[in-house]
Each structure stands twice: as structure tokens, then as C-alpha cells.
């Protein structure tokens, strides 16, 4: 995350036997998965299935009770991992710093690590905001933005890091269908341009089947299946089928 690795290629991600309990509640119950470099991997599942907690483990914000997360074969808990690989998380809420302008938020990584001179940072910020269609928002405060705009700014902030691994937490939640398509296209476009490894946590079926190279379905802290979108659609498990086919009209 510190910008010392010049390689722009995506990294591999391996999760082995991940367990996590909060109090008496088992949230992750033995998660195993592998994500290939440059792949868009989507983790789907109902609310409360442990997706967001898993995501926090993948970037080192949470420590597991057991198991490990490996980035290019190296444990996420090793101190030098942050300096070696560039990783970014796009939070569900955007998690923009409310006391900073949009431009300051997007340039924060470069400013704080003093990676570029101020004029160069301003140029990069403008470029990344243009990439997400928000070039006019540079001087706005986060409180002046809509939910979709906040998420796009969060993506721009992640892009500044030029990540080798980018994690998206529910990138289309609370968004209208048009904004969801914009975000989905951003994810695809970013992969095309930078070969970044992308891991998307979502319960949005349209997004998952629209962008994923592979999908994992998670329920009650365990993975039910992993496969290509077609394989997952065909996977004959009542929970998976119920989740994929849930339909308001059908229920009526």
C-alpha cells in the first residue's frame, strides 16, 4: 500500500481455513478460496452471511481466530506486506473523510506518503475524478454528494493507489440501477486498464453475474460453491437456488 512495488500486475489471493467468532456468534466458519491475478472474483450471499467481515480480513483490518490470508504467497499479517503490495478497499459507505474536500480525499494517499509534489497530486486527482465522471466535484465536501457519487469518489481514491488488489464492499448497495451499471462498468474498465485483481462482495445478482470471472456463494460463514457464473447458476443447492431465484412477484 505504500507504493514501493512498481509492478502493476494484479496479485494472487489465497484464503485458508479462516475462522472468526464475535462473542458467541460464529461469523466465519472455515473459509477457503483462491483468487487468480487479474481476476474479478465476486463473493455473493445474503445479508449477515459474513461477506463484509471476510473482506476486512482480506485487507488486514480484522485478525482471524484461525486460518490465514496470503497475498502472492505472503501472509497479510507480515509487517512488510503493506509496503510490498498496493491494496485498496472501496467501503460500502464510501468512508470518505468528511472534514476533507473530494479532491483532498482522493489525493490523501499521495499527500500523506509524500509520493508526488502538490502540482502532480492535483493533476492525478483531476485525472482519477475524470475517470469516474466527477471532475467537477473536486472542491465539494462529501456531505454535498449523493450515495452514488460518494462511491465513485471512493473508487477514485482507490485508483490513486494504483492497486494490485482492489476490494469492493457492496459497491451497488443503495444505488439506482443506472448508477449500479456505472459502477459495474468502472470495475470492468479498471480490470481492462490495469489488470488489477478485483474482489467484489455483493448481494446484487445483476452486478455479480455481469462482472464476475468467478463467483463464490457464502452462507452462515461458509462457502457453498465456487465457480464461473454459469456453474454457479447450475449449482443444485437449495440455499443457492433460493438466493439466486428470490423474486418479489414469484413470492406473491
Amino acid at each position: 500500500m505504500n507504493g514501493t512495488n512498481d509492478s502493476s500486475a494484479g496479485v494472487s489471493l489465497v484464503v485458508r481455513g479462516l475462522y472468526k467468532t464475535f462473542g458467541r456468534q460464529k461469523v466465519l466458519n472455515g473459509i477457503d478460496l483462491e483468487v487468480q491475478p487479474g481476476e474479478i472474483f465476486v463473493i455473493m450471499g445474503p445479508s449477515g452471511s459474513g461477506k463484509s467481515v471476510l473482506l476486512k480480513h482480506l485487507i488486514g483490518l480484522e485478525r482471524p481466530d484461525a486460518g490465514e490470508v496470503l497475498i502472492n504467497g505472503q501472509s497479510i499479517e507480515t509487517p512488510e506486506i503493506a509496503a510490498k503490495y498496493r491494496m485498496a478497499l472501496v467501503f460500502q459507505s464510501g468512508a470518505l473523510l468528511n472534514s476533507l474536500t473530494v479532491g483532498e480525499n482522493v489525493g490523501l494517499y499521495l499527500t500523506e506518503h509524500r509520493l508526488k509534489p502538490p502540482a502532480e497530486i492535483a493533476r492525478i486527482v483531476a485525472e482519477k475524478l475524470e475517470d469516474v465522471g466527477l471532475q467537477d466535484a473536486v472542491h465539494k465536501m462529501p456531505s454535498e454528494l449523493s450515495g452514488g457519487m460518494k462511491k465513485r469518489v471512493a473508487i477514485a481514491r482507490a485508483l490513486v493507489i494504483e492497486p494490485q488488489l482492489i476490494l469492493y464492499d457492496e459497491p451497488t448497495s443503495e444505488l439506482d440501477p443506472l448508477s449500479s451499471v456505472v459502477i459495474g462498468n468502472e470495475i470492468l474498465d479498471l480490470k481492462r486498464r490495469t489488470r488489477v485483481t478485483s474482489l467484489v462482495v455483493s448481494h446484487d445478482r445483476d452486478l455479480a453475474f455481469g462482472v464476475a470471472d468467478r463467483i463464490a456463494v457464502i452462507a452462515e460463514g461458509a462457502i457453498l460453491t465456487i465457480g464461473t457464473p454459469e456453474e454457479v447458476k447450475r449449482f443444485n443447492h437449495p440455499l443457492v437456488q433460493e438466493f439466486l431465484r428470490a423474486d418479489f412477484k414469484r413470492e406473491r
Binding site: M1, N2, K56, I59, G60, L61, A82, A83, M87, A88, L89, F91, S93, A95, L96, L97, N98, S99, L108, Y109, E112, H113, R114, R157, I161
Partner: protein, 248 residues
């Protein structure tokens, strides 16, 4: 509170270890410093003037009655320099600035802004805690010096206009100079530096450990202020004892 003492000490130690980052964070220190000054200066003036006045009003007449007129300036001066200015200003700063720090950092924690910093490999102690603690450690001793002067002025005005005392300005300050030394003022300022560290560390710790939503933030703010005040009072005694031992 006592359950968290270990965490508070650890946060303080981590902040000390982050001191080499101070020059890098100087802009944030300036911003916080001026915010503290802006938010407190007027209140410090009012509070200090009236504290000086009330000390003169309480202790002046009995002393004058017993023919200790020339002790009034010294008693008022000593009480303000050694005790009232450091403690009252620290309590004021805990309520005014410590609460704001706990609320701001707590809100950043609840709304995942601190997690966002961590994912960008930005250490929240360098970015949030160090500038705030340094700013408060710089501002409170200066406010205390200011408060001591205003407090003395308040005492002098009351001693002059009060009919039971009627001590002229010049005589009040001459008496004050007889009893109060520069060491006494330095002792008060030293105490206020320690109180500033307490308010800063306790408030930042409460902010960083905030959980829940708005109610959690409210709880953190209350705890930050109450815990700071309790620790200020306890440390006031301990520091006074230590200073007496070092310079009887």
C-alpha cells in the same frame, strides 16, 4: 475507566514513539492549535477574571480584618498560579476541546473513516492523535500563563474596589511579588502540560474505541470529559506532592 488505563498508557507510548513524525504533521498541529485558541480564549478571559475576583473576595476581607492586608495579593496570586489556573483551564479544555476531539475521532471510527486510513497505510496515531495531543500540550500551558495574568488582574480589581479591602493596584501587585516567585508560575505551567497530555490522550482514546452509532459517540464524549476531569484531579494531587518534594 480503570479497565482502560492500560490502553490509555499504550496509546500515550505509541504517540511518544510517533514524535519523529511531528514535523511532517506540523500543519495539522497549527490548525488544531489555532482551533483550541479560538474556541477557548474568550472563555479563559472571563473565567480567569472572575476566579481571581472571587478568590480576592473570599480571602481578602478576613485577612484585612486580622491585619494581614499585605498578604492578600500573595494569597490570591499563589492560589491562581499554583492551583486554580492550571486546574480550571484543564477542566475547561477537557469540556471544550476534549469533548470535540472524542466526538470527531469517534465519528470517524463509527463511519469507517479510520478503517479507510488504515487501508491507505496511514497510521491514525500519526494522522489524528499526534497533532491533537501536541496542539493541546502546546496550547494549554500558554492559556494557563494567560489565565494567571487575567486572574491576578481580576483579584487586583476586586481588592481595589471592594470596600472591605480597598487595596490599591500597586500595593496588591507589590504584595503579590513578595510571595509569588517565577518558580510558582513555572510549577503551575508544568502541571498544566501534564493535564494537557491527560486530556489529549484520554479524549483520543475514547474516540478511537467508540462503538455503535450516535449514541456510542455521545457515550464516548461523556466518558472523555468525565475521565479527564477525574484524572486531572488525581494527578493534580500527585504532581503537587512531587513538585513539593523536588522544590520544597
Amino acid at each position: 475507566m480503570f479497565r482502560n488505563i492500560g490502553q490509555i498508557v499504550l496509546l500515550f507510548w505509541r504517540t511518544v514513539l510517533a514524535l519523529p513524525q511531528l514535523w511532517r504533521q506540523r500543519q495539522k498541529v497549527y490548525e488544531q492549535f489555532f482551533e483550541i485558541g479560538n474556541a477557548s480564549l474568550l472563555m479563559v478571559c472571563m473565567l480567569s477574571f472572575f476566579i481571581g475576583g472571587v478568590i480576592a473576595l473570599n480571602f481578602g476581607p478576613p485577612l484585612v480584618e486580622r491585619s494581614f492586608t499585605n498578604a492578600v495579593g500573595g494569597v490570591v496570586g499563589l492560589a491562581i498560579a499554583l492551583e486554580l489556573a492550571p486546574v480550571m483551564m484543564a477542566i475547561l479544555i477537557a469540556g471544550r476541546i476534549g469533548s470535540a476531539m472524542a466526538a470527531e475521532i469517534g465519528s470517524m471510527r463509527v463511519y469507517q473513516e479510520i478503517d479507510a486510513l488504515r487501508t491507505m497505510n496511514i497510521n491514525p496515531i500519526h494522522y489524528l492523535v499526534l497533532p491533537r495531543i501536541m496542539a493541546i500540550a502546546l496550547a494549554l500551558p500558554l492559556l494557563v500563563i494567560f489565565s494567571v495574568m487575567i486572574g491576578w488582574l481580576g483579584g487586583a480589581v476586586v481588592a481595589d474596589v471592594n470596600q472591605q479591602m480597598e487595596i490599591p493596584f500597586k500595593a496588591f501587585f507589590a504584595d503579590l511579588r513578595d510571595l509569588v516567585t517565577m518558580t510558582d508560575v513555572v510549577k503551575g505551567v508544568l502541571k498544566s502540560f501534564c493535564f494537557a497530555l491527560i486530556v489529549g490522550v484520554v479524549s483520543c482514546h475514547q474516540g478511537l474505541t467508540t462503538i455503535g452509532g450516535p449514541r456510542g459517540i455521545g457515550r464516548s464524549v461523556t466518558k472523555a470529559v468525565v475521565n479527564s476531569i477525574v484524572l486531572i484531579v488525581i494527578f493534580d494531587y500527585l504532581l503537587t506532592l512531587l513538585l513539593h518534594l523536588l522544590s520544597p
